[in-house]
Amino acid sequence: MAPNQPEIPLQHLDEVVIRFAGDSGDGMQLTGNQFTETSALFGNDLATFPDYPAEIRAPVGTLFGVSGFQVRFAAKDIHTPGDRPDVLVAMNPAALKVNLGELKEGGLLIVNRGNFSPRDLAKAHYDHNPLDDEKLAENYQLVAIDLNEATLKAVESTGLSNKDALRCKNLLALGMLYYAYGRPLAHTEDWLKKKFASKPQILEANLLALRAGAAIAENSELFKVVYQVNPAPLPTGTYRNIGGNQGLAMGLVAGCQLAKLPLFYGSYPITPASDVLHALARYKNYGVTTFQAEDEIAAICSAIGASYAGSLGMTGTSGPGLALKAEALGLAVMVELPLIVVDVQRAGPSTGMPTKTEQADLLQALFGRNSEAPLPVLATSTPADCFATALEAVRIATTYMTPVVLLSDGYIGNGSEPFRVPAIETLPSFPVRFHTEREGFLPYQRDDQSLARPWVIPGTPGLEHRIGGLEKEDGTGNVSYDPANHERMVMLREEKVARIAESYPPLEVYGEQQGEVLVLGWGSTYGAIRGAVNRCQDANLSVGMLHLRHIWPLPKDLGDILQRFKKIMIPELNRNQLCRLIRSEYLVDAVSIPLVQGRPFTSTELLGHIQDLHA
């Protein structure tokens, strides 16, 4: 950028993984997001993974107070935020200690030397200063500078207090990285201007720090090389960066627009699902009503009530909340009203590790209700996929008059990636028509095709009728204890759900279409599996990949595909839940690859498992 940088060599890279790590007060999420957005505008493919501490704001400098944000940006199509980072930015000793182990050998290590006082070191339980350790500079490209001092100097002119001035140090670090990767400052400058429009002094300081970072990096030749990661050859179209929970909210809103229904979201906050509520609460001008209920039970009940009254009722939660909704979900099955229940899964059991990810609510979603209460279960697999999966949930709920469980997880919900904004014409259309015809009306008369019952909303003259959780007589919906009727109704409810599979598009296997190993996945393992399978292809291993959006009912063509491979491998962030289902449905000896560490698989791990299966 600056003219006088002849001697710094420029290296082209395919992709880079940067992890920003610091105290939760250090603004690492913000820094990471800015880097992500700038790279997105630049045209890279991207994936991010924020890693918050469990505490809101832990005491400064402690190990449990470390907040991280990983971004992977690439000149190619990528699917995960990367396994181990190429670059680590560590704002204090605690951040260094927690993250150093994962930095690639020889990776770039930027450390804020200004925060390595004995007190800081003690808080991170270091008994010596790791920066004094020679091995650090041997093993990594160490850039240890005093960001505090640099920041104070840079913003001196604003007259801010030291405390406020130091708040800008993350922008200084960001500026350095922008320089290193040849990125313009403009996007972040614009963003700062908007954010601090009413606080000119703070704005000025932040701008100064950002620019100073770039300048320092350039002038002091901090980096031995600078890098270039070209734009990725993404399919043409308009893109935006999207977070999983945000994408889900947008998809739900879009779905209701397509169904021509008002959206009612009744929810009770819970990590990591709360952001769906927060996002929807901002969509009030899209016919969205949000209701923060007193608990999860009230949340789902209010949503059922809203669907009964003619909105599309939805509720969102995480695993413990889904458990609480079980009884009411059974009611929704019985009264056959549309309803969407979002579960952004987290690590359990019980309260578990709320800020960590897991995929272990699958069997709960399928079977966690009294008696036979079948319902469709969908799973989204990436932040960008949330939009389409949400649309599909709305389509199924309204077409089949059924509650739907939509599984996401913390990794998807908090992660982000570029999302190709669909053209409106390409979206499916499924407008809802309420039933108003008196002639021959029966509350439980079914559509021949879908077996859905009519959706009649209170206020419709002449169609007054009663529904409820007691077993109902086929057709009339009156209470019935007749044994044969009960069996008929149980089977009708089951059959209705089974028929949903008739509306799926054919499954698409990625990679080999038959052969040695099929990696069968669902949910957030998508990126890691895709990465591993790509690497297999490079290594000429025969591997196919199939990723399920529809977990229940299972796609009709799944059985055939399973037959085409010698071995089926199912990696899941649980102990074997999809695997259990597949084994019982198809009697294939699928191999479970479980991981329950509150973190996603790495592609490398999966590659190893695939190689083992080939051995």
Partner: protein, 332 residues
């Protein structure tokens, strides 16, 4: 709203056989509600009757309106969704002392504080009827029931103080056998703009027969009940020959002409809180009627008002604007 037809009681009678025990107090309440609904001048398709689980909660099946027999304790939560989604509907919740005050207590008090324009009729028979006679949160201590064979030990709730404590804007009590009084209260509940809580003393002939007899029996009724009528003096007795007056924290018998004038809309409702507890020793009659009625904003109105304002400020959203929102870039 359609021009309201003129209805008869039978227009609200559904085609389902009523399945309460012969002699159950629920019959009289059903009858009164059907009569009242016919008289409100509301198109019948606008009524939604929602219940939980219990003998009382079978009520919706017998009403020829829209009806939803939900799950145990959750009727107020479900009704909240209905009312928010469609504020035009007239939403009535039917519940029992177990359904509303035991498993459903939390939804009840939250609905009260939010002040949705919903009416709740709590059939208080002081027992779990449907599950065959266990003690409930309103059962008198010492009662032997299937789950308390040696006598119940729990202190009961006073449903009126609970409602007042939760901030209900309308709190009333009536009696299954006093149909005229009941209809007056139902009418007032209907007219109230906001959450209306009505406790109905109801007799369960099978498991708790006579639970309210000491105040509802014809012979004692006049002496043992005082009807709280806003703007009227606190008088009672066959000839209204007795009165009550507040004296600080005490409630004292007095001549009718000295009786305090009842107000249901004081700033704090402290006297309602007081009078419904002043009766433990039997020297003072038990209040029925209107404990409290104040106006405050209904949540569903506020919600829809906010939607309107936001829409005015930000413009009506559609698919186009949704998809174009946020920072985008093009790849070509």
């Amino acid at each position: 709203m359609n021009p309201a037809t003129s209805y008869k009681k039978k227009d609200f009678v559904s085609n389902q056989e009523v399945r309460w025990c012969p002699g159950c107090g629920d019959y009289a309440i059903l009858n009164a509600v059907q009569q009242c609904f016919a008289s409100f001048g509301v198109p019948k398709e606008q009524f939604v009757v929602i219940s939980g689980i219990g003998c009382s909660s079978r009520f919706p099946y017998y009403m020829d309106t829209y009806g939803f027999h939900t799950i145990h304790g959750r009727a107020p939560a479900l009704a909240s969704g209905v009312k928010i989604a469609n504020p035009d509907l007239h939403v009535w919740v039917i519940t029992g002392d177990g359904d509303a005050m035991s498993i459903g207590g939390n939804h009840l008090i939250h609905a009260m504080r939010r002040n949705l324009n919903i009416k709740i009729l709590l059939f208080n028979n002081r027992i779990y009827g449907l599950t065959k006679g266990q003690y409930s949160p309103t059962t008198v201590p010492g009662k032997k029931t299937s789950s308390s064979p040696f006598g119940s030990l729990d202190a009961p709730f006073n449903p009126i103080t609970v409602a007042l404590g939760a901030g209900a804007s309308f709190v009333a009590r009536t009696v299954d056998t006093q149909i005229k009084h009941m209809k007056g209260i139902l009418q007032a509940a209907h007219e109230h703009k906001g959450f209306a809580f009505v406790e109905i003393l109801q007799n369960c002939v099978i498991f708790n027969d006579g639970a309210h007899a000491q105040i509802t029996d014809k012979e004692v009724r006049d002496a043992r009940q005082v009807d709280l009528r806003p703007g009227q003096p606190l008088v009672y007795g066959k000839e209204l020959e007795m009165g009550l007056r507040f004296d600080g924290e005490q409630l004292l018998p007095c001549k009718p002409e000295e009786a305090s004038i009842w107000q249901a809309n004081s700033p704090t409702g402290a006297r309602a809180f007081q009078i419904c507890q002043n009766t433990e020793d039997g020297s003072i009659p038990v209040p029925i009627g209107l404990f409290r009625q104040v106006e405050r904003p209904c949540l569903e109105d506020a919600i829809h008002q906010q939607v309107k304002e936001v829409t005015q400020n930000l413009g009506q959203g559609d698919l186009e604007s949704l998809l174009r929102s946020g920072e985008t870039w093009d790849v070509s």
